[in-house]
């Protein structure tokens, strides 16, 4: 079920991640977290003991009981997660923040990263604003560690694709909480529990209010970019993007202007939905979460 890491040759060689008890304990210490993720007003690590919903479980409880197998992922112990991060943090930038988080959060991030999906690589906290902008305008894949080029996909030979926006959850604790909470959400469970096999179509994507998973100010942990329409048309914007990327990939000078995007700030994520999409696992015996991303409501829809 786990991804074959050797199949992503774009990544440079592994780097050392120190395995020290202090690293484990330091994860949820606010000073350490502030230093790593200071751009967020209140690091989510500081609120792991506050229920996202009145009377509900705390994020820490949800993360602690996270069961990878319920998400269609391979089981992983804390020690295995530590080892996975230590062995792959250098060649998998998506794991870059995993050394700053606690063991329970690290186990969630490692389990997600080992799976077949791309939620962490494309929508996790190590994705930068520049990467979301370049993804939505130039179809550059954030999952490629270095030398991203327009249209190149980290995992398939065809052209990389993107919707009308590219977003991230910019705090690793918030990302892990969102994923772990999502796996327990009844709508997500109904999809994951569907029979999987030859002839079975994947469950439709599920859209869960962000506030249900991260609490009423969950939007504070999100940002991204949305492609600008062309003369008021999103259809024309997608066509222009494809034409621009196609020309660059073929080494031609594009005959259309480079697409542009608008930065999506935290406030744009009020009323946002978290989208969970599904795929068959490696042996097609169960459904797995193929991606999880935050989809802000467009103002023209509200």
């Amino acid at each position: 079920m786990a991804r074959d890491i050797s199949a992503t040759p774009e990544r440079p060689g592994p780097a050392e991640v120190p395995d020290h008890p202090e690293r484990r304990r330091g994860a949820d210490r606010p000073d350490r977290v502030d230093a790593a993720f200071g751009e967020v007003q209140e690091p989510y690590a500081r609120r792991l003991d506050r229920p996202a919903q009145p009377g509900g479980d705390t994020p820490r409880e949800t993360i602690r009981r996270f069961d990878p197998e319920r998400a269609g992922l391979d089981p992983i112990t804390h020690d295995e997660a530590d080892r996975y991060v230590r062995d792959h943090a250098g060649d998998r930038p998506s794991l870059g923040h995993s050394q700053f988080v606690g063991p329970d959060t690290r186990r969630v991030l490692a389990a997600v990263d080992r799976g077949n999906g791309h939620a962490l690589e494309r929508h996790g906290s190590t994705v930068t604003p520049e990467m979301t902008e370049n993804r939505v305008t130039r179809l550059e894949d954030p999952a490629i560690a270095e030398n991203r080029t327009p249209g190149r996909d980290a995992f398939k030979s065809g052209t990389h694709a993107c919707g009308d926006s590219a977003t991230r959850i910019r705090d690793p604790h918030a990302f892990a909480t969102c994923f772990a909470q999502g796996v327990e959400h009844p709508d997500v469970r109904a999809s994951l529990d569907r029979p999987c096999g030859r002839g079975e179509r994947p469950p439709p994507s599920v859209r869960v209010p962000l506030t249900d998973l991260l609490g009423p100010d969950g939007h504070q942990y999100c940002d991204g970019h949305r492609i600008e329409p062309v003369e008021g048309s999103r259809e024309a914007a997608y066509e222009r993007r494809a034409a621009w990327v196609g020309a660059v990939r073929e080494g031609r000078d594009p005959d259309v202007p480079e697409p542009t995007a608008r930065h999506l700030e935290a406030d744009d994520f009020r009323d946002a939905r978290v989208v969970f999409a599904f795929r068959p696992n490696t042996d097609r015996s169960a459904w797995e979460i193929s991606t999880m991303y935050v989809d802000p409501v467009r103002r023209d829809q509200q």
Binding site: C162, R201, P204, S205, Y238, Y293
Partner: protein, 103 residues
């Protein structure tokens, strides 16, 4: 507000078309989704929903004016420039050798 009305109302016009297009063609669909789609529509043991899909796709190609373009664009984020071009490409990819449905 969630605008994926086809998920809430399977009897809405072209709901099956929109549902499967979003599942298999949306940019955030899994890597092999489009290839799986091409296989799934031809499996002998396929879900009957794939036959409803084919009927709705044919209906949409025959009369593109009936297609809810905004919903289709939301479901597929197609780069083709028009719903008509996207639907035609989809038919040719899924049912190669079968003529395009006409009036």
């Amino acid at each position: 507000m969630d605008d994926r009305y086809w998920q809430q109302d399977p009897d809405a016009p072209f709901a099956t078309l929109l549902d499967l297009v979003e599942t298999y063609c949306h940019p955030e669909a899994y890597d092999e989704a489009y290839d799986d789609f091409k296989v799934a529509v031809h499996l002998p043991e396929r879900d009957p929903i794939f036959d409803r899909f084919k009927e709705q796709l044919a209906e949409a190609i025959r009369d593109p004016s009936q297609v809810p373009v905004d919903a289709l664009l939301r479901a597929a984020v197609y780069p083709d420039g028009s719903a008509e071009k996207f639907l035609t490409r989809l038919w040719r990819d899924l049912y190669p050798g079968e003529p395009l449905p006409t009036g």
